[in-house]
Each structure stands twice: as structure tokens, then as C-alpha cells.
Symmetry: C2
Subunit: 220 residues, 2 copies
């Protein structure tokens, strides 16, 4: 790691169910968040920030949920995604056709580093998003992302397994977690197997809204 000033590695607006799952079971092309996973985001979808950024619409809700939605997109210079966040394709890439869930102009507008075991050439999308495929591990992806971010923050988009790897390695500076009042029953449990206290995290911010319990977890 260089000594140059750099941004934080952050997880933002990551939502889990009341029973702890960050995604539902059986992710596939019709259910990017697994079965039932969309219900998690009841706090996020109606916000002014998301309506504008994802659907290009004016309007939407304001207040604490929207404040967290806006903070989630602020000061980002790069993203890191696990492969399952990028798409439903598993194993070697059969061809170059899959370019993410988000259409021609993904909402990232910066370099996005996708963790995979299977090499693939970078893809330049409309609006400034470039997907890079990193095959040599989480440290390499972080290093590449820091170079690309130019001092801004790097957002770790998920999924659960990817966030857990970076948490265990001690790299995550801040995690904004939203707990939604829904049950998923099974899926990927974000914090169940991770001792966040032993890793040095504390709840440094807490806001309850009718739609979610927002917690910011930071190293003390």
C-alpha cells in the first residue's frame, strides 16, 4: 500500500433482511437479488436520489432514507464488485455478450473492478463506466481501484461473499448497513459468521426510519 493520501474503502446502502440475508436464494437472470431480494430495497427505490439516478425521473421521497441514498453515491472514484453482482454467468465466459445487469449506460460512471477467476478484456460502456476483470484476488483489485479512484472513495458493491472477504482482511473503512423489515428465510447471511466486534467495528451512526434501520459501522 502506498503512503499517498487515498479515499476510503466503503460499503454503502447494503441492505439485509431482518433475518440477516443480503440476497434471497436462487439468484438468476429474472431475480438479480435472488427470490424475494427486491423487497429488501423498499427504503431505497422510492427515494429522490434513486429515482433520478436509475430511472432519470424527478420527484421521489426526501428525508433520512434519501440522505443515505445520496451519501451512497457521493465522492466515489471506483467500484469493486463480486462476479455475481455483475451477472448470472458462472464459470468461464462463454462469449462477450453479457455486459452487466444495467444496460448500455450503467449507473457507475467510473472504473468498476469485477472479481472473477476467468479472464476477460475490459468493457467500455456509455457514460464513463469501464468494467475491468480482475483474476488475481481482492488485494490486486483494491490496488487497481485505488489507482483508478484518484483519492476518492472506493465503493465495494457486494455481494455478501465479497464484502466478507474484504471485512476479514481488515480493508473496509466504513459500512452503511440498512436492515429492512422483511424476512428472506435463507440466502447469504452478511454478518452471521463474522465477528465485527473483534474486527474492531463499532456502530458510529444510527437512524431509524419507517422503512429501515440504518447503521454506520466504522473502525473505532
Amino acid at each position: 500500500m502506498s503512503n499517498s493520501p487515498h479515499g476510503k474503502l466503503v460499503v454503502r446502502a447494503f441492505t439485509v433482511s431482518a433475518d440477516g440475508y443480503g440476497a434471497g436464494p436462487d439468484q438468476n437472470i429474472d431475480n438479480p437479488l435472488g427470490v424475494g431480494g427486491m423487497a429488501l430495497h423498499g427504503w431505497l427505490v422510492p427515494t429522490r436520489t434513486l429515482q433520478k439516478s436509475l430511472f432519470g425521473k424527478d420527484g421521489g421521497t426526501t428525508g433520512p432514507d434519501d440522505d443515505f441514498a445520496a451519501r451512497a453515491m457521493a465522492n466515489l472514484g471506483a467500484w469493486i464488485l463480486g462476479r455475481n453482482m455483475f451477472g448470472p454467468v458462472r464459470g468461464p465466459w462463454p462469449d462477450e455478450s453479457w455486459k452487466g445487469w444495467w444496460g448500455d449506460e450503467p449507473p457507475y460512471h467510473c472504473d468498476v473492478f469485477v472479481l472473477t477467476h476467468h479472464p476477460r478484456a475490459p468493457i467500455t460502456m456509455k457514460g464513463g463506466t469501464v468494467f475491468h476483470f480482475i483474476t488475481d484476488g481482492i488485494e490486486s483489485a483494491l490496488q487497481r481501484a485505488r489507482q483508478a479512484a484518484g483519492g476518492k472513495d472506493i465503493r465495494l458493491g457486494g455481494g455478501v461473499a465479497t464484502i466478507q472477504q474484504y471485512l476479514r482482511a481488515g480493508h473496509v473503512d466504513e459500512l452503511h448497513l440498512a436492515i429492512s423489515p422483511v424476512l428472506l428465510g435463507s440466502g447469504e447471511n452478511l454478518l452471521g459468521g463474522i465477528d465485527m466486534v473483534r474486527l474492531g467495528y463499532k456502530v458510529t451512526e444510527h437512524v431509524a426510519t419507517p422503512a429501515a434501520m440504518h447503521l454506520v459501522l466504522s473502525k473505532a
Copy 2:
């Protein structure tokens, strides 16, 4: 099970941390809820209901937290507790000296059925609480509790392992869960290993307060 009308088997005011733990690690006589476990109950302790019932004091907070505290104690005819809820003693009872965490007059005021592998004579306490020790399993305890409750509800007080046994057996009619904005890091995870959706539970009520996210989970 008889066909006579009877009350519900309920879990009330059961609190878990944001990372899913119903008690902290290392329960002992100084830490009945495990290390860090008392921090879970920040929503409950200041309420008017708890201040009155546990400390005999007037005053305390009112509002949704207090409403849930009051509902937790309403219409109860019997309790079921796992042995670790009753005390820190493990294995065969060395003598008759341990009579619970709660002093001479426990806050139950009815029959309390304690699950244990080690037989012991019932203990009659001040204020109407009688502790019965049940050695032949959860079904037997429930049957005894129904007889004692006389049509009122039976509250399953915990701990985590006991609640999980009754959930898996399909006996719990309603569970009021409070999620507190604290991290425990490790301990006993209430819902991590249980598929509440497959067991037929839904979120039927949801109230957010600054101190907790309250959820009522009921069979659909």
C-alpha cells in the same frame, strides 16, 4: 393436543443485535446475557412498564417501546424457559441454592417451566411464581404450560436455543423481535440458521423507534 380453546405460544420482547445475536458470548453469573448483552435492552429498560415491573418505580418512557413492553407482559398464564435463562448452573444441580436471577420475588407471578436434563423439585417463590423443572422435553413442557395457563398465553422466554427448538417444531404462534442498534460480534444467532419463510412466518407488524426496530412475526 386437546381441542379446548387455548392461548397462544408467544415470544415477546426478544431482542437481538444488528448482527443477529440474542445474547453475548461467555454468559456467567456477572453477565446473565453474556458479555455486552445488557446493551441490547436499551429500548426496554427505560420504559414505564419495565421501570414499574422490575424496579417498582413510577415514571419511565412512554410510546411504542413502552407499548411493546406492556404487550409483552399482557395476558400471560405461564412461561417456558431454557435452563440457561434460569441460571448459570450447568450439569446436575449441586444443591437447592440457586433459585433464579431474580431474587425472592421473580417478575413472573405464575407457573414457569424450566427445561433441563436434571430433575429437581419445584420451587415456590414469593408473588405467585412457581418454578417447575421439566426433564422430558419441549412437548411435555408445552403441555404442562397449557394446563397451567388456563387459556391465557404462554410466553417462551428464551434463550436462543430453546426458541429455535419451538420454532422448528412449529409451535410458536407469534414472535415479537426487537433489533437493537448494537453489535455483539458473536454469541447465539437467533434466526441465522432457521428458515422462517419456509416455516410459514411473515412480518405482520413493524414499528421503528430511535432505540429499536420492532417486528412481529406471525404465521400467515
